[in-house]
């Protein structure tokens, strides 16, 4: 199993922390709660849950390197949000972000405006953590030939989440580490925090424009308010993705742009993709066929994609193949 990012970042010692931080009597910890509360710092574990002043074992005086430190709690053993399996422990509910090893999306749900929660399935793509990967679309829109799809970076849980808490939605950093973003992208927290969902097609609860702008801190060139051409050599024509006009819950409306999370989950998806198999089994073997498929017969803009960067990559999408396209376009 690949060690993966944690939704609420550093959480070591949370089991002890929650008792003294005002949540006595519960067995779980919530984001911006427990050890991740800005300005709390009232007990030793507020710091010492994750840090050692003189005996740290990882950078930033951490007791353990990420991701292992984060998963001390967020693997289902103490924090309520088990980001490994994409489940909220206390309710057995499906986490909205999916999971890093397993996720619970019913990725073949053809019901209109619904993508139900399902039983755990192995993920097919996730935000890789602890390994260098392409920061797709990072940088400025330019017309450099052949252009690049983005630099490389090594994501960690704390790249996106602020373990010290910041009152943002999912304690997201306004400027993710390594993003190179010029300014902040604040995402207001939910009025009522709810980590789970029974309908992955409904992504309301967070401002769609704010969350898209936040994703755009790294994936800069994906963020589009129009599908008209821009100057970029690769990201030339783009689906509208800024979430304008949308609250994340409505059915297809051409006057409302989807946000990033309308189509993608942030942690990992169990959607499967097939390049050419005409009869995929829902939830079945995701192994792509050797046939290059139609997409293998058309040119990749700018450059040849790296291995695996074909249409057979599920790309954190919420449905099998390109079912998420069909959810609105119904071609």
């Amino acid at each position: 199993m690949k060690w993966l990012i944690s939704v609420t970042g550093v959480a070591a010692g949370a089991a002890l922390m929650l008792i003294v931080a005002g949540l006595a009597g519960t067995a779980t910890v919530s984001a911006d709660n427990g050890p991740h509360v800005q300005g709390a710092g009232v007990v030793a574990d507020s710091c010492a849950g994750c840090h050692r002043a003189h005996t740290g074992q990882a950078d930033s005086l951490l007791t353990e390197a990420q991701t292992g430190l984060c998963l001390t709690c967020h693997d289902g053993t103490s924090a309520d949000t088990n980001v490994v399996d994409g489940v909220e422990v206390s309710s057995d509910g499906a986490l909205r972000a999916g999971g890093f090893t397993n996720a619970r999306l019913e990725t073949f749900d053809t019901t209109a405006n619904t993508i139900a929660a399902s039983t755990p399935q192995a993920v097919s793509s996730e935000h890789d953590v602890d390994v260098a990967g392409v920061l797709w679309g990072n940088g400025v829109n330019d017309n450099v030939d052949p252009g690049d799809v983005g630099g490389t970076t090594t994501l960690r849980c704390g790249s996106c989440h602020d373990p010290h808490g910041n009152d943002s939605y999912r304690i997201l950093r306004p400027k993710p580490n390594g993003s190179g973003a010029a300014g902040d992208a604040d995402v207001a927290d939910e009025v009522t925090i709810d980590y789970t969902t029974t309908n992955y097609f409904d992504v309301s609860g967070v401002s769609q424009t704010e969350i898209s702008a936040w994703c755009g801190q790294c994936h800069t060139r994906y963020l589009a308010s129009t599908s008209a051409a821009n100057a970029d050599f690769i990201f030339t024509y783009r689906h509208e993705s800024d979430g304008s006009g949308s609250d994340g819950s409505e059915a297809y409306d051409p006057g409302k742009a989807p946000s990033c999370i309308r189509c993608h989950v942030s942690h990992g998806t169990n959607a499967v993709t097939y390049s050419t198999d005409p009869t995929p089994t829902p939830g079945g073997d995701p192994t792509p066929t050797p046939d290059p498929g139609y997409s293998g017969r058309v040119p990749w803009p700018g450059a040849t994609p790296a291995a695996g960067d074909t249409s057979s990559n599920s790309r954190l999408l919420r449905m099998d193949n390109r079912g998420i396209c069909q959810k609105c376009h119904n071609k």
């Binding site: 689906h239 005409p278 009869t279 046939d291 139609y294 058309v298 071609k331």
Partner: protein, 375 residues
């Protein structure tokens, strides 16, 4: 082509089949074959502009489709390629001076492509939609930009050739064109533009049939035969017509056998429309009545298929008649006839009914499986 619609498992991709199939969307490439959500290079979130994108499969060297419209070729047959009915955009396979041999009813296909001399410009360059608009409004719509997708719906729509009922920008009121059944993209005679509307073989939506020609039916590699359609009811193949069109081959029913498979007698094309009156059919009915099978032999005109084969004279054989598990019967033994001066054609007639619940995109599967067997 008829059968290839069903058994296109060898990588062939046909119109209104993936990826051009409405409501399919079952594999990633159903969308991603042509579109990129974030990295598109052309309007409509396309990976490439038309017609280059279309030519990725439908162009010279494209491996994704049998219909190479750039060169007017259809691949997948016995020959390396045959001629697309619509010609091509850069090359075409029309023997444009062949009408005199052997008769004015023929415009044969070429074996080698020739450059086109005129074509619908499908690269989006401004042109004139000649004749567009009301009368007395000038030559037509100017600065009209035509692309492949102007006429064809790449997502499929069940229409003939996926044609859009209203080509964008045309100002048309909307005109559907019933798809043919079975699909047949190529031809050996460009003067023959007849096709079978969907449902015709099943007795629904039956329309008057124009004339068709019984020659030059290309042989297919995997199926050996091509099913063709019924002739015009009033067309006398042997004597030709009032316009001077050449007479067509007739088909002699072979000698009858003890099973009643083939009543003796001549079966002209005219008889095809009134088959119940043909001696062949009458003999079969009579035999069936004697066998107590009258109820199993409904009147046949809706379901008769003429099957033609083209074979070389040296390699011809006559082992191709059989009954089909009681659902159809051979009414006439094959008979060799030379038609079009160069083609040896066999024909025999079957009747039968579609097998319920086994409907295919062309004939019923039952027909296809039985009829498609190699000999």
């Amino acid at each position: 082509m008829v059968l290839a619609m069903v058994e296109a498992g060898a990588g062939a991709i046909l119109a209104d089949n993936p990826p051009h199939q409405a409501g399919a969307g079952v594999v990633a490439d159903s969308c991603a074959g042509c579109h990129r959500t974030h990295t598109a290079q052309a309007d409509g979130l396309l990976t490439e502009d038309q017609p280059a994108l279309c030519y990725s499969c439908h162009g010279a060297g494209g491996t994704g489709a049998n219909t190479v419209v750039e060169e007017g070729k259809l691949y997948g047959g016995a020959a390396s390629f045959t001629a697309l009915k619509a010609g091509g955009f850069v090359y075409a396979l029309i023997d444009t001076d062949s009408e005199g041999t052997p008769g004015p009813t023929n415009i044969f296909a070429l074996e080698a492509p020739e450059p086109v001399t005129s074509a619908h410009a499908v690269d989006g360059s401004p042109g004139t939609a000649w004749g567009n608009g009301e009368t007395a409004t000038g030559p037509g719509l100017t600065n009209f930009e035509l692309r492949c997708g102007s006429c064809h719906d790449p997502h499929g729509n069940g229409q003939y050739r996926s044609l859009r009922p209203i080509p964008p920008g045309s100002g048309g009121a909307g005109q559907t064109v019933t798809d043919e059944d079975p699909k047949d993209y190529d031809t050996t005679n460009f003067i023959d533009v007849w096709y079978v509307p969907r449902g015709d073989w099943r007795g629904a939506g039956r329309v008057p049939r124009p004339r068709t020609l019984l020659h030059q039916v290309p042989r297919r590699p995997r199926y050996e035969r091509t099913y063709v359609r019924v002739l015009s009811p009033d067309f006398d193949a042997r004597s030709g017509d009032a316009d001077g069109h050449a007479g067509k081959p007739d088909f002699d029913a072979g000698p009858g056998d003890a099973d009643g498979n083939a009543g003796p007698g001549h079966l002209s094309t005219g008889a095809l429309a009134g088959r119940r009156h043909s001696r062949a059919y009458a003999g079969r009915q009579h035999q069936a009545a004697e066998d107590g099978q009258q109820g199993d032999l409904p009147e046949m005109p809706q379901q008769v298929v003429i099957r033609l084969e083209r074979r070389s004279a040296a390699g011809s054989d006559s082992t191709n008649s059989r009954a089909l598990d009681g659902r159809s019967a051979v009414l006439a033994e094959p008979s060799e006839k030379t038609c079009a001066g160069s083609t040896t054609t066999r024909a025999f007639i079957r009747r039968g009914r579609p097998i319920p619940g086994r409907r295919g995109p062309g004939f019923t599967d039952g027909w296809l499986e039985k009829g498609g067997e190699k000999e």
